[in-house]
Each structure stands twice: as C-alpha cells, then as structure tokens.
Symmetry: C2
Subunit: 428 residues, 2 copies
C-alpha cells in the first residue's frame, strides 16, 4: 500500500479555518479551573427542565402526533410552529398578527439562528462581496463572512449603536470607488449587542432601513437584524425592531433564536425573510439537511401552547438581571480605581464590554491574557476578535465579559481576578 | 421610499437551486390523493414512540443531566454519544472496539448524515473539482456536488455495484487528460443503494480502497462510504463495510444515520473521519451551527444504554421485509407481462429500481409521469435524476420505487396503477 497522502482542502475551508471560537473552547477545556467570563453559554441553572418535560409529555401522549414528530419534517420547518412564531412576533412587536403584514411562508426554522446566518452567507455572498458591520460586532458572524470569502467593512459605532451618518458616508465612498455593486448586506445585532451590550437607538432603526432602501439602486441591499438577545431585557427603553421599521418587509431579514430565551440544547432558531429570499434560503438549506429536527420544533409548539414560554423568559430576565448587577457592582468595586479602565452598562443581554488602559492589550498573545488565564485563572473574550479589518487597525484594549454562566459570587470573584491581572500588567 | 429591488444572489445559490427534491415535494403536496412510491420517508407506523418516551424520561429524571442536555454541546458532538457509536460500529463490524483502530475523536455527530455530505462538499471541493459516482447514485448527493460547483463523473455500475475496472480506467483517463489533481473523492452508497437497491460486491469493496490509495499520488483521494441503509438488511450476504477494508482508516470516510434505523425526526447522523479531516470538518460545522442539538444526541445515548435500539431495528427489518416482498409480488403480478419492464430484487433498504420499455421515458415531462400522477394517481422518482452528466447521455427509462411509506396493500395498489400507466403509454 502506498503511504497516506495529505488532503487537498478547498478554498472555502481555508476561509473557514482558524476561527477564534475553537481556540477559546480549547482554552476552556485545557484550563478547567479557570473562571470563564468568556463563554457565551446561558446559565445552566435556569434551563427549562420542567417546561421541556411537560411539553414533551403532552406531545408524545397522542400516538399519531408522537409518530409524526419522529418523522422527517419539511425544509422550511413545521407550519404549525411557524404560525406560533408569528403570534410570538406579534407579541414582541405589541401588535395584532394581522398588522405584521407577513404570513408563515416567510418564516424558515433553522438549527439555531447561526444556521440562518450561514445560509445567508451561502445564498447572497460571492467571494469579494461586502457586508457592512458595526465595530465591534458578533465575532462568529465575522467567521461566517470569512467562510464565504466575503469582506466585512466596519461602520463606526457609539453608545447608540451603528452611526447612521457613518453608514451613509461608507456607502457613498463604496459607490464612488465602484464597489456598491458588491454590497449585499448591513448586519446589526439590534438589542444588547454581542459583544458591546449596546442597543441601536430608536431613531437610527428607521434610518438604517431608509438608507438600505435608498442605496439599493441596482439590487436589494438587505439589513440583517440579529435579535438574539431581544427578550433578555432588564431595564431601559422598550425598543421597536428594525424589522418593524420596514413597511413592506422586503429589506430587513429578522433572525431570532430560542437558544438564549429557552434552551440552546434544542437548537431552534428562525428567520423572517423578505419574500424574494424564501426560496433561495430553502434551496440552500435543502442541500444541507432538508430541515431541522422535527421533534424539537414540536416541543416548542407545545411550550407555546401550554403557556410555558413567557413565565420562563420572565424568570430568566430576573435571574440575569441579578447577574448583570453583580458584574457591574464588581467592576465598580475592583476596577474603578484603575486608570484607563471603563465599561458600558448594558440594559439586557449577557455581556459587559470593558476597555483597559491604552498600554494594556487584551489579545490571546498579550501579557494580560496570559496573566489572566495562567496566573489569575480567569478568562475573557479579547475584544480585537470582534472587529473586521487588519489587526493593526482594530482597538486592541477591549474585552467582552459574560455574566451568563457564573453565579453572582463567581462573577464577583472573576472580576476581582481580572482587575488584579490588569493592575499587574499595567504596572509592569 | 424607492421601489424594492431584486436580490443579487450568489453563484453558490445558482448552483444549489432547482434541485429535483423540491419539485418532488411540491408534487406530493399538490397531489395529496396520489399514492407516493416516490417519498424516501420511513414508515410512520414503525417509528419508535415508546422507545423515545422511555429514553427521554430517564434522561430528564436527573435534574443535572436534564439541564446539561438543554445546554449547548460541542461542535463535534457529545463525547458520550461518540463512544456509544464506536460500540455500535464494532457490533456492525462484528469485532471488538479495540480492533476498530479508531477513537471517539474521529467521529463527528451531524444533523442527519446529509449534513456530513454537505460539510464534505464545503471542506474538499473547489468549483471544478471532481467526485466519482456510481450510475445511478443518490440524487440528493448530486445536488450537494452541484451546490459547490463540483463535477460528478459517472462510473459504470452493474448488479454488483460500481465496476472497479471502470473506476480504474476512469482514473487512468483523468490522469492522461491532466485532471487527476481535481479528483477529490469516490462516492459510494455501499449497502442497498439509493436508488438501485444494489450492494457493492464484497471483492470490490477492498478493490475500491486499493484503487483510491494507489491513485492518491499527490493528494489523498477519499472514498465516501454512505452506509445509510446498512442496518435495513432483509436477506442476502452480510457484507463487510468498505471502511473496514481501509486498514489505517485514512482513506475511507464512513457516514451513517439514525434517520432510517431509528427516527428521522431526531436528525442525528455521524461520520467516522480520517484524522486529517476531523479539524477541517469541524471548522466548517462550527461556522454553520456550533453543533447539532444536544438533547437529541442524549436521547440516542439513552436509547443505546436502555437496550432500546436493537429491538427496534429488528422489528423494522421484519416490517420492511414484508413491504419489499409486497412490492416484488405486485411487480410480478402486474408488470411481468409488459414487454421491456424489468426490476431488481433488493436484499435491503427501501427501493426497487425498475426499467420501463426503451420507448417509455420516465422524466417529469414524460407522458408516463403525467399519466401516472394525473390519471392513475401514483408517483415515483424518475430514474434520470439519479445520474450525473448531460440528460441526453443518461438512461431515460428508469424509476425508483419506494416501499418505505405505504402499507403492503397500498404498495400493491400503487404498482397496479403504475403498471396501468406504463401499459397505457407503451401502447400509444
């Protein structure tokens, strides 16, 4: 037998490889004694065991229904679930179903909202196509764009989210340099953004839609509204969705997931799509799995029908609010006296975005990360991962701190350790 | 507001679009009174309701475990499940786990085996790369290859599966024409192939592996063994896997699914990968969903641990054997006297492959398909979908008939209707 040869992998794999998430998970596995402020997981103790049991039990009590949920479903997902999702969306939008101006055929159920992000990458982006993103933005979506060879172009962001005048001038500039035909999408995490915790200000929501429509001169430039954290609101204003600002729903793609508000172990998310994208997304999904797990979709149907969903979300919000407050208090207690350390106060979601002194970089190779993981036994997500473009152009002194997983006591301890690490590195 | 513009979709979408599966599903939906010999679904009545209930109940009885299965898992899939899968594979291979010469790190759990097919498409194929396939082959995999812009090159096939001397000479020819560097994979449905029901003969199994290794001159040419139907064996020889013929397991990728042998509604499949492919596949999967549903993987763990799996498979085999026999008897009864109609006798799986007279084409546009669906109210999968290459070079008079879904009585009725349609078209 000849010797084994190396594989000859695709360009797409090269684009997809070396994502930071793998390195982070590896660090977590190799350092089990480290307090992780990095993991974007949800709090294990709040997971809906009893609600899932009840929904499953009633679902499986009827033999016919039980059999049908163990069968293949359709690529688009269960129509019954999609109808429940429309009702749920109407609740979130504080309107009647009829006023939503959509029907179930515009919804596609996916394996978490991550799958929808990936499918949009497939269906819309050729190598070299452009997606406009906030700075910072959700780093896993930057990986999706990498994976299809697309270019993420950064739009300046402040405490009210993506700056719409910066968006306008970036589009102007792309037009002037002959690149407007490559712009496919504007990506926004509209509520309590991962990583910054910032929400897009109300006025900017309609402005983004107006800008996208106006610059759709020769083809539709879509707005992808990732509303993963929408329901994890603790205080602050109740904001309308960007999607709701798009009267004909032909510009904004809305994606939501039950991974944060219910249980990630079900891997159920969904997208509300402009009509023109429904078939293309289903074509791509059909090639990949012919539909997400039917059982899980039906568990969610029963969770809704048995009124198990909203009480769970309400409890979750209380629980996470306590943990957010614990992290902010700990930051006040341990970090307020470190010159150059600042952080944002999120009104929802799972993250606090922290700035270290200019001299203290936070990347995987930095003295701070090494000190934090090896000596202080605490881990965070380096903020530089959350920006597109060349590393040297990115802010290097930011951190994403998650209060999702740890208890309030451990959060306090984690921030204490982190403050010690910052103090140590800042003083050397 | 300006008018809505059309989307500008990607090349990858263009490649992925217009797959036959969508048209087939559409036909099914639009013609609910039609007896479907087309659907590749499994028999609703044999789905494991009680086994799933029991596995779920014990899984959720322990609060800690219940919470952990509702949390995110890992991209690779549950290690506990992967260990069970190795045990299961050892059973199938009739050997001890230690003799398999692999460990759990080479297994990846996917959303059905379809997702693994798609991930291999991503990781291995650039546009224009080549996959060698049997003629006929699984038409959905042809869609996956289309979706990445790859070229499927057909290898002649007989009643013992892909002809290894034809495989050898095709590789020789590709080498001579300077295309060997584009050949990435040989795809085989090794047991009771979809659509033909044929299994690759025992001697050819080791030959395929030897050929792949020998032609891996500058890079590894992989063999993808799709063993979806392996456990649905009714009679005939107990064949070793192609994977088992690959001593170092660096050439053959093995994929299996629980969609046929247990429940498609769980969407759990898996791949056993050469070591060099584990990270690339996980990189691609990480970008798409960070892992398949944890709950479903854990249901399967308990199905194995509570000895619920094998009794279910045994029952399934009995039930499908009756239906296979019903289809073969019906074919004898209604088709034997139609000149030019022939069919194969499968030893397992879900399909009977039938040839119509040369004058009777079977495609979507053909008089036979129209007559069958509109007048006789019976549907099948046109065989021409199951071949790669230009339509005019494909056999046009083949049909895939599935006995998976219908009862024996309905199968009999379906074949009777189909025979009437063939007779009608042949005589006009």
């Amino acid at each position: 037998m000849p010797e084994t040869q190396s594989p000859k992998l695709s360009q797409r794999w090269k684009w997809a490889s070396h994502q930071a998430i793998s390195f982070l998970m590896q660090q977590g596995l190799e350092n089990p004694d480290v307090l992780s402020l990095a993991a974007g997981f949800v709090d294990q103790h709040t997971l809906p065991v009893e609600a899932t049991r009840q929904a499953f039990a009633s679902l499986m009590a009827d033999e016919d229904r039980a059999r049908s949920v163990l069968q293949y479903g359709t690529t688009t997902g269960s129509e019954e679930l999609r109808n429940r999702l429309i009702g749920h969306l109407a609740n979130l939008e504080s309107c009647e179903v009829a006023d939503l101006n959509i029907d179930a055929s515009q919804l596609v159920v996916t394996t978490g909202s991550q799958q929808l992000l990936a499918l949009l990458g497939d269906a819309l982006f050729d190598p070299g196509d452009i997606c406009l993103v906030a700075a910072p933005t959700y780093f896993v979506f930057l990986g999706v764009l990498d994976g299809v060879g697309a270019t993420a172009v950064t739009i300046e962001t402040d405490r009210e989210g993506m700056r719409t005048n910066a968006l306008e001038s970036q589009l102007q500039q792309l037009d002037e340099t002959g690149q407007l035909h490559r712009v496919k999408m504007i990506y926004l995490v509209s509520y309590y953004e991962n990583p910054s915790g910032v929400s897009l200000a109300e006025q900017r929501r309609s402005e983004v839609v107006e800008i996208a429509k106006r610059w759709s001169k020769n083809h539709q430039i879509y707005v992808l509204e990732d509303a993963a954290y929408r329901e994890l609101r603790y205080d602050g204003p109740l904001l309308p969705s960007v999607w709701g600002c798009d009267g004909d729903h032909e510009t904004v793609i809305l994606t939501q997931t039950f991974s944060k508000s219910f249980a990630p172990g079900l891997r159920v998310g969904y997208g509300v799509l402009p009509r023109a994208l429904v078939d293309p997304i289903c074509d791509c999904k059909g090639n990949r799995d012919f539909g997400s797990a039917n059982l899980n979709q039906n568990i969610l149907i029963n969770v809704f029908d048995q009124d198990l969903y909203q009480p769970h979300v309400d409890g979750l919000r209380q629980s996470y609010q306590v943990k957010r407050d614990a992290m902010l208090s700990a930051a006040d207690k341990y970090c307020a006296d470190i010159a150059g350390v600042e952080w944002l106060h999120p009104h929802g979601g799972l993250y606090v975005w922290m700035k270290t002194p200019d001299s203290v970089q936070t990347g995987f190779e930095s003295p701070l990360f090494q000190r934090a993981v090896r000596h202080e036994k605490v881990m965070y997500v380096p903020g530089e991962l959350c920006y597109a473009g060349p590393l040297e152009d990115r802010p290097r002194n930011r951190m994403r701190l998650s209060y999702g997983v740890l208890t309030p006591e451990k959060i306090d301890e984690g921030i204490k350790r982190l403050a010690d690490a910052i103090r140590h590195v800042a003083s050397t």
